[in-house]
């Protein structure tokens, strides 16, 4: 009987260990029952009139988690911070069972607001200490001071609070701290990240960054342990750390961004203040250099982590923001800034930000490509912690994100309608009574956390297959191998529910390697590179503060998949590199051993050098979206027009650069000493035109190159005098005069010449981009015949679409040339003359279903089979719209509200649901009927079709266009038709604006990047250019070493070693090959 009872109890015991399972592909976690684990910690929030979301803007940010072995018994212990409860310390007893030793450890038992927590050995005595960041609440707790706390580990499971002795008893709005050795003197110094609490009212200017704020500005403290003192001194100013009232610091980590062996600091700021990147200069100072490395960042940055996410041995950075992935929530929440506001902030000196997660992938030359959109990891709702680790040990680091906010204050119905006119009383008198009611009315929504499994090659699956665990409000999180079984477990601090201890139960098929670094001096910041037998590399830094308000295990964990580790390279915090060779057990220690040091050579092969020609294209500032509120892209920053040709017959190639409106076109004559600006009167007279494109051609058959310049711009109506194209006749010596002739006056985009009728005189095709004021409608494009008497007659005019580029070439079996045309929302159009001499347009055979936002087309015989293949540059995959043939992006154009202006309305697939591209506010400002149809944002958020939105049936709509493919493509000419292939993966990271096919080296140069999309879509900034090799198939060879801010429009070969790169609103660059 007794035996049965014991057995019975044992069974219950075992069964009660785990409650919920979560499986993401092969990754399996089980949530431990608190009765088993002994962890019953809850970060419980209780409304108080003096403490709530209205009184304190970060009331719902949650608490933190720190993991570390406090008693050196090989088992990692856990510390939770609470906002309105007591912080707790749990001792790991083994078998995933913990004991609450808060009281025994002599920790503070007074419940005051704690935020972040870090564990580190501050006094180098071999035991890790604990630092807790807190809020100042003196007035509330009868003079009990609530400064930050430093618990020094006494080595016997007790701690002594010593923040005052150590000089770290900062009293202010602290979020989190991080310890690292900034000056290589062997002890840990500290960065303290604080946050401002005033509501954002005015963007003021960035001048405020120079000010010092005593309770909200960040701090830096130097540890004097190396001088024998157990003390820190504040060195904020000396070290160049900003300490201003502008910063809402929420995300903090350290990493060596520039590979110089010194740890740099990443600070993520909420709201409009940019994130900070402090580069460690190695001399006890830092330089804030964010914009040197990143083109843009997340706006409401809350969490950050660093890891190698594509197995290339380079560390990538991920920051979290708050973009919803459910279109119903997205459409009724405040979202991206309007374009107007984007410009205002930029004018105030703020760098660009977007309200979405950012995934900065480090490229070979050390610059970053932001690929959150590409990997579809950009929207995980209100997100806090991000922890990049290999959770299934398959060799690829996965992305864990904790998310959820207890009350959603940015619901637009709530803001505009629920907090109604009664609220007037709020401002005047009845504040306290109203507060609670207002808060109660805020919508609530629990959502599950996210775990994106890294499937390799930057494939992270999609959001729907990545929901992790039950819906909750999860904030600070940490990972550690709590049961020492070789895989990482997760600890999550939740609001108003028990903290989650998630045991990793993924199969043991995949191996792992756990490394503990040992050094008498600080090991923080050491970098460990693991070389695997599959020729892949993984690299991790010994840092612990990461994610959100939390710190993780000191041990370094590497998933190996089926590989083994050949060797390990450790670059210690003092810069010395040590190599250790395998084989290795699953858990190892690496001890600092100078005998094994090796010189680390960082050889960055630079195959190219870049120089600048001092001629700049200056774009004029016309903001299309102010006139057409619904357009997705600017149509007025197309230039510059550029030509490379010998205008004066001296065998040297001269340059023509078109000018934007009110800037004259320029000709640069090539001389032995460089380029000289030619003085051309007619160019000066004609500077009022906006030059969009140009072509050389022999208009008068006199043997020299004349120029056709296409005028464009979205700021004047069609047929306005300022839109007329021009021809300049060359007298043979590069003296150009304008030909008096009537030419098309549309918003032109391209001109290409070809002698259509073989009469010795070049004819032309002129493509048009848009009808100004009517985005989406197709303007006329023209085939113009050169009538040889100084006249040019359009013989064909056709509404081909919003044309962007065209080429004459022979792509079929007959000897005549065809005209291939591409544009926005168009297929690839082929125009051919039929037997009757009529020009007929058709879709490219084999590519009929490809509708894209094509930018450029190039004809090249890539496989040397005598037939022209086609390269088409598109927007790429790193984009919010990711259409397919099955779920295209739709553009509906009509005057829906009958007020004499066409309304372009776009619908696209947003994580599985179709939704309008524009916000309700935008649509309503152009079409008031929308405000009437959808008074509430909630009703608007349910719209999935154009008929829902406007009441108009599709069959009655004036014009419907679509996109089915945004990848840049290659069409191989098979004779009868074409074989479509997407260009290599890396070439899809940004928009491609031009190609150059180098026949000799069999290389395709491509260039791109652009800022022509509205804020809702974002700048295309990830890849200004690269090289694709073609040898039977297209393979990405390398990226080009180019500045991050470059938006390139053209790549042209100048001579054997040099390429000209033409940028929009920037200088001309010369790219020179220096290696082979």
């Amino acid at each position: 009987m007794k035996k049965i009872l014991i057995l019975f109890f044992c069974l219950i015991f075992i069964n009660c260990k785990n409650s919920n399972k979560t499986q993401i592909h092969d990754i399996l976690f089980e949530s431990l029952d608190s009765n088993y684990s002994g962890i019953d910690f809850i970060n419980q929030l209780t409304y108080k009139p003096y403490l709530n979301i209205i009184e304190y803007l970060y009331y719902y940010n949650g608490g933190g988690v720190a993991v570390g072995d406090i008693n050196n018994d090989g088992l990692e212990d856990i510390f939770f911070t609470a906002n309105q409860e007591i912080d707790r310390l749990y001792l790991n007893m083994g078998n995933l069972q913990f004991r609450d030793i808060t009281k025994q450890a002599k920790l503070d038992l007074f419940p005051s607001w704690s935020n972040g927590v870090t564990m580190d050995d501050v006094n180098n005595d071999g035991f890790i200490d604990i630092y807790v960041s807190k809020l100042p609440m003196e007035g509330l707790f009868k003079n009990q001071s609530t400064h930050n706390l430093l618990y020094i580990n006494n080595g016997d499971l007790t701690f002594t609070e010593s923040s005052s002795d150590y000089g770290l008893d900062f009293l202010g709005f602290s979020t989190q701290s991080t310890f690292f050795d900034y000056d290589r003197d062997g002890d840990l110094d500290m960065y303290l990240m604080n946050h401002a609490t005033h509501s954002v009212r005015s963007y003021g200017t960035t001048k405020k960054r120079k000010e010092k704020d005593s309770i909200s500005g960040d701090r830096f403290y130097e540890n004097l342990l190396d001088e024998g003192k157990n003390k820190f001194i504040e060195v904020t100013d000396k070290s160049g750390i900003l300490s201003s009232p502008l910063g809402y610091g929420l995300a903090l980590t350290t990493t060596d961004i520039n590979d110089d062996g010194w740890l740099d600091i990443y600070v993520g700021n909420d709201f409009h203040e940019n994130d900070y990147l402090y580069i460690n200069n190695g001399d006890k100072t830092f330089t804030e250099s964010f914009k040197k490395y990143f083109k843009h960042s997340s706006r409401f940055t809350m969490g950050v982590d660093v890891a190698d996410l594509n197995e290339d041995g380079k560390l990538d950075i991920f920051t979290t923001d708050m973009m919803p992935f459910d279109s119903k929530i997205a459409l009724k929440s405040g979202g991206e800034d309007t374009d107007k506001l984007t410009k205002i902030k930029s004018d105030y000196g703020f760098e660009p930000q977007y309200s979405r997660n950012h995934f900065h992938l480090k490229k070979p030359y050390g610059d970053y490509a932001e690929i959150g959109l590409l990997t579809k990891t950009y929207a995980t709702d209100w997100s806090w912690s991000v922890l990049l680790q290999d959770y299934d040990n398959d060799g690829n680091n996965d992305i864990f994100i904790s998310n959820g906010i207890a009350k959603r204050p940015n619901d637009l119905d709530y803001i505009n309608y629920l907090s109604t006119s009664n609220y007037s009383s709020f401002v005047l008198t009845k504040q306290n009574e109203m507060k609670e009611e207002l808060i109660n009315q805020m919508p609530e929504l629990k959502i599950p956390n996210i775990l994106f499994k890294n499937k390799g090659m930057l494939d992270f699956g999609n959001i729907k297959e990545s929901f992790f665990g039950d819906p909750s409000y999860s904030n600070g999180s940490a990972y550690s191998d709590l049961d020492n079984d070789g895989d990482l477990d997760l600890i999550v601090n939740n609001i108003n529910s028990i903290a989650s201890i998630l045991e990793n139960k993924t199969s043991k098929e995949n191996k792992s390697l756990t490394i503990e670094l040992k050094n008498k001096k600080a090991i923080k910041g050491s970098r460990v590179t693991v070389f695997k037998s599959n020729n892949k590399v993984d690299v991790k830094e010994a840092i612990t503060t990461r994610g959100f308000q939390s710190s993780t295990t000191h041990r370094l964990h590497f998933g190996l998949g089926k590989s083994i580790v050949d060797s390990i390279s450790v670059r210690w915090a003092d810069g010395k590199t040590q190599i250790v060779n395998g084989p290795f057990k699953e858990k190892i220690q690496i001890i600092y051993n100078s005998g094994k040091f090796k010189e680390e050579s960082i050889d960055v092969k630079n195959n190219f050098s870049l120089s600048v020609l001092p001629f700049k294209h200056e774009e004029d500032i016309y903001l299309d979206y102010e006139r057409e509120k619904l357009i997705p892209e600017l149509l007025s920053s197309e230039g510059p027009a550029f030509l490379l040709a010998d205008f004066n017959n001296d065998k040297m190639l001269d340059i023509f650069i078109g000018g934007a409106r009110y800037r004259p076109s320029q000709i640069l004559i090539a001389t032995k000493l460089g380029y000289e600006l030619a003085d051309i009167n007619d160019f000066r007279i004609d500077q009022k035109y906006e030059d969009v494109s140009a072509a050389t051609f022999d208009a008068d058959n006199d043997g020299d190159m004349d120029i056709y310049v296409v005028s464009g711009g979205n700021d004047y109506k069609e047929n306005d005098e300022l839109m007329m194209d021009r021809i300049y006749i060359n007298d043979g010596n590069a003296n150009f005069s304008r030909l008096s002739v009537a030419l098309p006056s549309t918003n032109g985009s391209v001109v290409v010449s070809h002698d259509i009728d073989d009469d010795g005189y070049d004819d032309l095709f002129v493509g048009s981009r848009s009808i100004p004021g009517g985005y989406g409608l197709s303007p006329y494009s023209f085939i113009i015949k050169n009538t040889r008497d100084g006249n040019f007659e359009p013989i064909v005019q056709s509404r081909l679409g919003m044309v962007t580029d065209a080429k004459w070439g022979n792509i079929d079996m007959d000897p005549e040339f065809e005209l291939i045309v591409v544009g926005d929302w168009t297929p690839i159009i082929v125009i051919d003359e039929n037997e009757d001499g009529k020009f007929v347009a058709s879709k490219l055979k084999g590519g009929e279903n490809y509708y894209g936002l094509w930018n450029t087309i190039e004809l090249a015989d890539l496989n040397d089979d005598g037939k022209s293949d086609i390269l088409v540059g598109n927007t790429g995959k790193n984009f919010k719209w990711q259409p397919t043939i099955e779920s295209p992006v739709y553009l509906y154009v009509d005057d829906f509200d009958e007020n004499e202006q066409s309304d372009p309305i776009i619908f696209y697939d947003f994580f599985g649901t179709y939704r309008p591209f524009n916000t309700k506010d935008n649509l309503g400002s152009q079409m008031p009927m929308i405000k009437k149809r959808f008074n509430k944002y909630k009703d608007f958020s349910k719209v999935e079709t154009i008929e829902n939105l406007t009441g108009k049936k599709e069959k009655n709509i004036l014009e419907i266009k679509k996109l089915t493919e945004l990848k840049s493509m290659l069409f191989i000419n098979k004779g009868e038709d074409f074989d479509p292939t997407p260009l290599p993966f890396e070439a899809q990271w940004s928009s491609i604006q031009d190609f150059f096919w180098d026949k000799e080296t069999e290389e395709i140069f491509y260039v791109g990047n652009s800022e022509e999309f509205v804020t809702e879509l974002g700048a295309q900034s990830a890849n200004p250019g690269g090289i694709i090799e073609f040898d039977n198939q297209a393979i990405h060879k390398e990226f080009l070493p180019l500045p991050i801010n470059l938006n390139l429009r053209r790549v042209i070969k100048l001579n054997n070693d040099n390429m000209l790169l033409i940028a929009n609103n920037d200088y001309i660059y010369i790219l020179k090959r220096i290696n082979d």
């Binding site: 979301i53 209205i54 009184e55 304190y56 803007l57 970060y58 609490t197 509501s199 954002v200 009212r201 005015s202 963007y203 003021g204 405020k208 409401f300 405040g334 309007t338 107007k340 506001l341 410009k343 205002i344 204050p409 940015n410 803001i415 505009n416 309608y417 907090s419 109604t420 006119s421 009664n422 609220y423 007037s424 009383s425 709020f426 401002v427 005047l428 008198t429 207002l438 805020m442 903001l623 102010e626 006139r627 509120k629 509200d897 009958e898 007020n899 004499e900 202006q901 400002s925 152009q926 079409m927 008031p928 405000k931 009437k932 008074n935």
Partner: protein, 442 residues
């Protein structure tokens, strides 16, 4: 013989009684509170739907015009048609149906036009339901309701068709205002940096004044930040007054805030407080005046239509000046050059500074009300009670309008020049309308 006579008398008596039409409802439909309720409901929906001040003036005017053009048929000699007096409005076809009660018809006309112009139709639904129940409770005969509704809505359609051509729809497509760099030009203001409201409002067809630019103000003082210059003095005045306001001045500023959408930010949280617009405030004063003067149903409508027409043209005139002169708001300059922390008491509304909207339209409305009710008409303005503000007493409409004007200086959102010139401008508009619009015959 006597029995026969008695019978005839009884029969006559009975017939007389049963043939006497039920006239109680007619008296009940004379109650001006019916119209006051309808106007209040319209105001509530305008507030709820967050209409900007100029657009709100449109939502007040057209329903009032429809109500007036219907009501006047009850006394066609006393109340002159607006057609021929307001631009392009044609005479509505005279009613033929004898069953129409013109007060009731006027209410239907008002509600139909109102409904067409607001967004939250569900709110109109609720009101219509209550309204219908009320009329039934008066024992209004069904045929009267039917005929009155039919005619009222007929007039409503006529007015709506005419309203369609006032360019409102077209101006929805016109470009937004593009910010100009130089210091003196208006820039969006914190906390929300909203786009400037209605930069093309001067293209709306005016009602009585000949054109938007008929009463231009004298040019604003030349922009000059040098200490002691006329402009800088005015800027300094706004800055300093903000630091030393008396309680009375603060109360005045808040009383005349009339900002329909004020946002309050608390971190990621944001709340909006909604109120009536400046035009709405004067509509409210009209309700106070008509009640105090014990205006009957017709006179109540008469008062509202005159005031709302004044407001309508006043806003067009003022907005024309604002978007022509594009003067930068004090807050922008003060934050940039004097004190980054300085906050005006009121949230700066999202449109350029010169001339002051409240100064213009308050004066225009006051001139109209003075013409209607007399010069020394004192009253207690209870309009803002509903929005958490106290009541204030005024000796006259002009007095109230003067306080409205100066309150903008206390509120920290206007220079003195915009106030003074605004009052002048408003006066011109008001006087012109009084001289050129006659609704009541003498």
């Amino acid at each position: 013989m006597i029995k026969k006579i008695n019978f005839k008398i009884i029969l006559l008596f009975v017939l007389t009684i049963s043939c006497t039409p039920n006239t109680e409802y007619i008296e009940k439909l004379e109650n001006p509170e019916l119209f006051q309720d309808a106007m209040q409901n319209l105001t509530d929906v305008i507030v709820y739907d967050i209409f900007s001040p100029p657009v709100a003036s449109r939502v007040y005017a057209y329903p009032s015009i429809a109500a007036y053009e219907t009501m006047r048929f009850s006394k066609p000699k006393k109340f002159i048609t607006l057609s021929g007096q307001v631009k392009e409005l044609e005479q509505v076809k005279s009613p033929e149906d004898k069953n129409i009660n013109f007060n009731l018809a006027a209410l239907y006309a008002f509600n139909k036009v109102g409904r067409a112009l607001i967004f939250s139709e569900d709110k109109m639904d609720s009101f219509d339901e209550i309204f219908y129940k009320k009329i039934k409770s008066f024992k209004t005969p069904r045929r009267v309701i039917k005929s009155s509704k039919k005619y009222g809505e007929f007039v409503a359609d006529h007015v709506l068709e005419w309203a369609k051509y006032d360019n409102y729809n077209q101006t929805r497509t016109y470009p937004k205002y593009t910010i100009r760099e130089p210091e003196n030009f208006w820039k969006p203001t914190p906390p929300d940096y909203m786009d400037g409201i209605e930069p093309h409002w001067n293209k709306i067809r005016t009602l009585v004044i000949k054109s938007a630019g008929m009463f231009p103000s004298k040019p604003p003082i030349k922009f000059d930040l040098t200490k002691g210059s006329p402009f800088q003095n005015q800027l300094q005045q706004v800055y300093e007054i903000g630091e030393n306001l008396s309680d009375e001045q603060i109360e005045m500023a808040k009383f005349w805030d009339c900002n329909p959408y004020v946002t309050h930010h608390r971190g990621h949280a944001m709340f909006a407080t909604k109120k009536i617009t400046p035009g709405g405030h004067w509509i409210g004063i009209t309700s106070v005046a008509t009640r105090k003067a014990k205006s009957n149903f017709s006179e109540t409508i008469n008062a509202y239509v005159n005031v709302s027409i004044s407001l309508f043209d006043g806003f067009i005139s003022c907005w024309d000046e604002k978007w022509k002169t594009l003067v930068v708001r004090p807050e922008t300059l003060i934050n940039k050059y004097y004190d980054e922390e300085w906050l005006p008491i009121l949230q700066t509304p999202p449109f350029p500074e010169y001339t002051s909207g409240h100064s213009v339209i308050s004066r225009a409305a006051a001139v109209t009300l003075t013409d209607l009710f007399g010069e020394n008409f004192n009253f207690v303005d209870t309009t803002e009670l509903k929005y958490g503000l106290p009541e204030r007493s005024f000796n006259s409409f002009i007095h109230a309008s003067e306080e409205a004007a100066i309150s903008r200086l206390y509120g920290g959102i206007h220079y003195m020049m915009a106030i003074e010139e605004g009052v002048t401008q408003g006066n011109k508009v008001g006087v012109f309308i009084v001289d050129n619009l006659q609704t009541k015959s003498n």
